[in-house]
């Protein structure tokens, strides 16, 4: 089921109305049934996969606790099962295609029937979430749970099941086990967050998507058209993915559960390190805790640290999709981070310059670098990727510049609410009395009016060509 559908609104309304009349155990049973219904709404067989992951990881975590001397074996079984399922559905076709192509280069024709495997949505997200639980039990950070109900709900919790944030057991599982109290203020705030998410998806992301799709579907786009399209995609992917997170967080909040923040205005970052602490935070921290640190993290020689960074980002790129462009995108960001690390080592003051001009310059460079990354991320055809990256800004006609500028300005106009949100968000988080202020009548009226304006904007500006969330494909 997709969030931006009437089906979801009906489903959500039904769940929340029943939910708050029940006790904790029944609430969790309802949420588990609702989550499986939500996930299996289009393809019921998806539920078999998630149930298999749940049962295997539940049993392995229990076995790790009960037989500590064989805990390594059970961890291996769990990880092998999880990642085998993930590889079978997500990477099988990619590896087969590449092996066939490689063999073809040395003269062996291995082409056979083409297998089209349908990728279950959200498999990368829940696999990582479930794997983190077993690893945390193995590390002794958390206790293996006895009640499979709580654990199954942790894996399948519908608000964040399909596109994250990737939660940790220490946080979400604990929240699911704790009795929730009905709090009208939190429901109000959750509904507002959902509305803001719908606005970002339906008004911003879907409208700029028409621009990026158009620009990058030309056979021979000129330099300004390519980069006008890439800028549109830059707005689209942030609005789209953060919209999903906001709807997920808003939904969870109405159910009395807090899930983590996944974005912190990534486009204001002035360097690669800051960007990755602001973009897809739950995935970045997952890779940090379960890949980068076990590889040695920062506690080893400088060349080894750089290798660890590169490896982590290559895997992060591969996580996004079974295609070479994602691996190149991961490598690209790895190189940016390694380069930034080297620069900071030689000139430590560059990380926090006092001059506003230098800060603005850093931001501009970082924003351009992020955009180059988005082009790599978006374009799966290597020939076109090369053509776009090497497009020449010289000798382009005035008409082409005007089209590119129009794409840029149109996307920028639609991105104004994102910029305003960035500004107000920083202002709000700096206010210590914020929580208390939100309960004042004046604020309630202001928030409600703003919600009404968002609803008007959705009704008037909703794109006719609504698409699925981009991160559904991962």
């Amino acid at each position: 089921m997709i969030f931006h559908s009437i089906d979801y609104l009906l489903f959500f309304t039904g769940v929340i109305c029943i939910y708050w009349t029940l006790n904790l155990r029944l609430q969790n049973i309802l949420l588990l049934l609702a989550s499986y219904f939500f996930y299996g709404y289009v393809h019921a067989w998806y539920c078999i996969l998630i149930a298999a992951t749940t049962v295997v990881d539940y049993c392995c975590a229990r076995a790790i606790t009960n037989q500590p001397d064989r805990k390594r074996l059970f961890l291996t079984i769990s990880l092998a099962t999880n990642f085998s399922i993930l590889c079978a559905f997500k990477y099988f076709g990619f590896f087969v295609d590449n092996i066939v192509a490689a063999m073809g280069l040395v003269g062996f024709d291995m082409s056979g029937p083409v297998w089209e495997i349908l990728l279950p949505v959200g498999i990368s997200f829940y696999t990582f979430q479930s794997a983190s639980y077993v690893i945390d039990v193995y590390r002794g950070k958390i206790q293996a749970r006895r009640k499979i109900l709580h654990y199954a709900l942790f894996v399948a919790f519908f608000p964040q099941l399909v596109a994250g944030p990737i939660e940790r057991a220490g946080r979400l599982l604990k929240a699911l086990e704790t009795p929730r109290k009905f709090n009208a203020d939190r429901i109000r705030s959750g509904l507002f967050l959902m509305l803001w998410g719908f606005f970002k998806k339906l008004v911003i992301a879907d409208n700029v998507a028409t621009i990026s799709n158009k620009a990058l579907s030309l056979q021979d786009p000129s330099f300004p058209i390519v980069w006008g399209g890439v800028f549109a995609f830059c707005i689209q992917i942030y609005a789209d993915f953060s919209a999903y997170t906001d709807i997920a967080r808003g939904t969870a909040r109405t159910l009395g559960i807090d899930i983590c923040r996944n974005f912190n205005h990534p486009y204001i970052a002035r360097n690669p390190s800051a960007f990755w602490s602001r973009w897809h935070i739950s995935l970045s921290t997952w890779f940090r805790d379960y890949v980068y640190i076990p590889l040695g993290g920062n506690r080893c020689s400088e060349p080894r640290i750089m290798m660890n960074i590169m490896l982590t980002f290559l895997l992060s790129g591969l996580w996004h999709g079974a295609n070479w462009n994602f691996i190149i995108w991961g490598a690209y960001h790895g190189i940016l981070l390694v380069t930034w690390r080297l620069i900071c080592k030689n000139r430590p003051r560059i990380e926090n310059p006092s001059s506003q001009t230098v800060r603005l310059g850093q931001w501009t460079i970082m924003f351009l670098l992020v955009n180059i990354g988005w082009l790599i991320f978006r374009e799966q055809n290597p020939a076109y990727l090369w053509q776009f990256i090497t497009s020449n800004p010289f000798g382009v006609s005035s008409e082409e510049w005007q089209i590119g500028a129009y794409f840029f300005v149109y996307s920028a106009i639609l991105a104004i609410p994102l910029a305003l949100h960035c500004w107000t968000d920083r202002w709000c988080t700096g206010d210590e009395q914020w929580e208390a202020r939100q309960q004042k009548w004046k604020w309630v009226v202001a928030q409600s009016t703003l919600a009404g304006i968002l609803l008007i904007a959705i009704l008037l500006l909703k794109s006719k060509n609504s698409t699925e969330f981009i991160y559904f494909q991962f």
């Binding site: 158009k214 005007q402 089209i403 639609l414 309960q439 409600s448 009704l459």
Partner: protein, 331 residues
């Protein structure tokens, strides 16, 4: 607790009410409709052609009048589909009082039975200009096709009076961006330039159908269409009934896709659809004529399935030679 609940209720009430305070409903002037009625009265055609860009990029009316010796008119709007053609017959032809011997409707793909196709946005805006104050048949058909659970879509549309106003506001944002980025060319020229730049011929062939692929009929990319001639969910039976009331012989002319020249096999579901459509039209005593795509040289096509301006006269002659016997025989 109680104040929290009251605040929540207030939040919901204000959120739902604020959009009601604005008048989202568009105001439409009916000059266009009146102009079309006047034109038809003036021209008083013996043969009336109805369609969309597939018609006006194919047929040169002056040439057709010359070679046929008949008074011929056309009603065509780019992007128009079955809803538009229904309104042409009901609100233009019927109201003009003319009685053409023949009405020929040009269609392509599954447009004749895809009632909701191109009824929103800029197309919805155009339909509004053709409509009467009340259009119960049209509203009922479109609502039945929206498939919204418990008719929620209808409730939202009625409550907030959303029609084609969103299109006007969205266009104004595009226009603002065009104004800001203007260097030398006028807005109109730039829009035309962009249409040419992003025409189907300039698009990549390797992309999925949502962006560019003119190897499959346009509507079939959306979903495999079921054949639905039921009066509650299709304009087709109403179009035939209107022609009967006007005592006019109705024919349909099926325009083909350029790719059919290459003899690429059609989808099974589409073949099945066409068979059922033709059976239905035959049962209603309506003539269906087919474009003979193999007689059209490849270089006549432009921008997908249109016919280039340079070959319009030749196409018009080909068209008349192809249909004249059938048309004249059914007089």
């Amino acid at each position: 607790m109680r104040s929290g609940l009251i605040q929540l209720a207030l939040f919901l009430a204000i959120t739902a009410t604020v959009p009601l305070l604005l008048r989202l409903e568009g105001v439409y002037n009916h000059q266009h409709k009146i102009g079309l009625v006047d034109r038809l009265r003036r021209e008083n055609p013996e043969i009336l052609l109805i369609g969309n860009s597939m018609l006006y990029t194919r047929i040169d009316i002056d040439e057709l009048q010359k070679i046929s010796g008949k008074r011929i008119s056309q009603l065509a709007k780019g992007g128009g589909a079955s809803a538009c053609w229904y309104l042409y017959l009901k609100n233009i032809v019927a109201q003009s009082g003319i009685q053409p011997e023949q009405v020929v409707i040009f269609f392509r793909d599954t447009i004749l039975t895809s009632a909701e196709y191109r009824t929103e946005g800029q197309y919805g805006d155009y339909l509004k200009r053709l409509q009467e104050k009340e259009e119960p048949v049209m509203n009922q058909i479109l609502e039945s096709r929206r498939k919204s659970p418990f008719g929620l879509s209808s409730v939202v549309r009625t409550a907030y009076k959303i029609d084609s106003r969103p299109h006007i506001i969205q266009s104004s944002i595009h226009d603002l961006a065009l104004d800001i980025t203007k260097i030398d060319l006028s807005k109109k020229k730039r829009k035309e330039g962009m249409n040419t730049r992003f025409s189907v011929d300039n698009l990549r062939r390797d992309l999925a159908l949502e962006n560019a692929d003119y190897n499959t009929p346009e509507i079939m990319n959306v979903e495999p269409q079921q054949f639905t001639p039921a009066p509650g969910s299709s304009f087709l039976p109403h179009i035939i009934d209107l022609a009967d009331k006007l005592n006019t012989k109705l024919s349909f002319y099926q325009v083909k896709n350029a790719f059919e020249r290459t003899q690429r096999p059609l989808q099974e579901s589409y073949i099945h659809y066409l068979r059922k459509l033709k059976d239905y039209l035959k049962s209603r005593n309506v003539l269906v004529l087919e474009e003979s795509v193999k007689d059209i040289p490849e270089d006549w096509f432009a921008e997908g399935d249109h016919i280039s301006k340079d070959h319009r006269l030749e196409y018009t002659r080909l068209f008349w030679s192809h249909i004249k016997d059938s048309i004249l025989a059914t007089k």
